[in-house]
Amino acid sequence: MQPAQTALDMIHIAEVLAFGGVLLAILRRRPPRPAGTAWLVGIFGIFTAITLLGVWAPRPTHSLGYLLYAKVVLAVLFIVPYLFVRLAEALAGIGGRRLATACTLAVLVGTAALPRLPLRGERRPVWFWIWLAVALLAWVVQSFISGTGLWRAGRGQPTVVRRRLRLLASGTLALAVTLVVSGFGPASNPTSFQVVVAGMALVSILLFVLAFALPGFLRVLWRQPEARQLAEAEAELMSALTPERVAGLLLPHITRLVGGSGAALLGLDGRCIDSYRMSPDDLARAAGELPGSGDGGTCQLPGDLVACRLQSAWLVAQVSAATPLFGADEMHLLETLGQRADLALARGHAYAEEQRARDRAEAANEELQSVLYSVSHDLRSPLISLAGYLGYLREDYGELLPDGAGHYLSRMDANVAYMTDLIQDLLDLSRVGRADTSAIEVEVRRLAAEVADEVESQHPGVRVAVEEPLPVLWMNDLRSRQLFTNLIENAVRHSGRPDVTVTVRATAQLDGAALVTVTDDGVGVPEAYREQVFRMFERLEPAGGGSPGTGIGLAVCRRIMESAGGRIELAARPGGGACVQMWFPAALVRRWPAFATSGSDGSA
């Protein structure tokens, strides 16, 4: 046997195996079968049959029986391009069915009318050439319709769907080329030519095989662009806090990744949270078909829908006719994607819960602030009257009062003054949580100097040193003033010496924060009390006597620092005295005038 003949036979056998394999794969596929299956079975059925006939064909003769046999085979063969057009129509919705019908009918009539078929090596008459040209032209036209239609249908589709459609298109066109080559080939039809033609046919067939039974590794490979897009979307997903937003971000990616035509996120009650490219009818159908209870995992809904049960929702994907194959891999993929959606939904849910709790706490806090404000406001009015009467009592009847009454009066004065301070501090405290939070550039150097002047004029003997460089902060004007006033006054008040020196200085931190310290050389605060002093009404001396102050001042300072995003602590100053340390985060530090970095070590 000639090698060429052997090759030809082997190609034929390969073709039979390929056709048969695809046919089996299609028929074995679980219902519901995708659209176009019937046309596909037709095409591969015909290919299988004709290839088998090519191997075991009867010997060509001029007998009537052979002529009839040949005509039937040709007629069946020339139906194939029509089936291609119908398949493309089913897969990608392309038109051209009428033209295909006309072409096929013409070829069938022509074939039926053939008086005889020239055998191999015989001269081909003109009418035969005409028939052949018409038949091939019809084939080419129909292949062109279906091929370009499929190619175009891939545009804008997920990679895996697009490539599959284009494989089909290439297979269709390659087959047409093969037929033209074979039809216009040498009349003697040598075996070597047949090998070439059969090889071309095999290549076309392999393209179909690839397209229909797309191997898993290719599906994974061709999903990579979509997987990358999904990975990019995940970053955005971190900030998605509502189910709608999660769905809006994920659904397009899920659709493209599984190669479906649409997807939706449904609540457990079937209510649509969001959908992507799904019609209201399909959504209603999906909602109606969801199983009553799901224990996770995916399930196939009737028709073209697949559902995946999440913790708090259903993920539904709609499979299109052009979806390569929705097998176990895709189910698993959908499940994985569902888990991501689940995580995002859970995060959003937790955030919403937290937000609600925060809102509630804030509302309660606001109410407390407003009560605090009005109470302290109302408390002042009788106190002012009380102070007034005390003053007039002394002024009008002071001389009539016995000795000793003056002492009572001065104690009353002191208590009224103390209570007024308390109320003023309560008012200040309530203002920290209220209204005006607008920030401006606060030049600490100037602010500290102003406060220093004020304090020094009220407390002769006290010295307040303002050491540069001090930062320019981005803070609320009133609060920053209150902060430094409270700290410096507090240092003077609790220093335990009339000639205390208070120092304000700052150092820049590596992370861009500013550490501002208010240090005094007084008695200092024992370590055990350094946290306590920031709590409200915590004083280290009994109220009303000893050192003045209400015990609110430092609490106000802490609230100011915390609401600005900073931190305040009390430390010891080496060599005695207290040191209040305030960290203003980098976001609050506008600049350091005069010096870029601090030269001082800030260890005070």
Binding site: R380, I384, S385, G388, T420
Partner: protein
């Protein structure tokens, strides 16, 4: 010659401090505790029919019946009363109260002291200015 001062103030303590602040030889003080009474006094109606008109009026803003601005409006719209200097003494430092007072023709706006001694000292300063430093027109008959 006596100077008559009408004080319209509903808070008895504040009325006391105001009166006490204005108290001086030659100063006669009349006190009413709501806006309607102030207008009756000025128009010499009802129980105030036999009173003489004041040289100076000190008005609180928050008063029952007719509030301070209502009283002020009526005073300044009345051809008869508008020449009487009218001072508003209020605990409010709201911008709109201050603007309204001057728009209606009030002669001064003073905020009651917000500090312990403010009420006493503030009223004293006010009294000193209006009854000693300035010369008031004769009240309409």
């Amino acid at each position: 010659m006596t100077t008559r001062v009408l004080i319209a103030e509903d808070n008895p303590d504040h009325a006391f401090f105001t009166a006490r602040g204005f108290r001086a030889p030659g100063v006669e003080i009349e006190t009413v505790s709501d806006g309607a009474a102030a207008l009756d006094f000025l128009h010499r109606r009802g129980e105030y029919a036999d009173r003489s008109r004041p040289h100076l009026i000190v008005l609180d803003l928050k008063m029952p019946k007719v509030d301070g601005l209502g009283v002020l409006r009526e005073i300044k719209e009345s051809a008869e009363l508008r020449t009487i200097p009218t001072v508003v003494l209020s605990s409010s430092d709201r911008r709109e109260d201050i603007e309204s007072t001057y728009r209606l023709g009030g002669n001064a706006y003073s905020v009651k002291g917000a500090t312990l001694d403010g009420l006493r000292d503030g009223v004293r300063a006010l009294a000193e200015y209006w009854s000693e430093l300035t010369r008031l027109p004769s009240p309409p008959e």
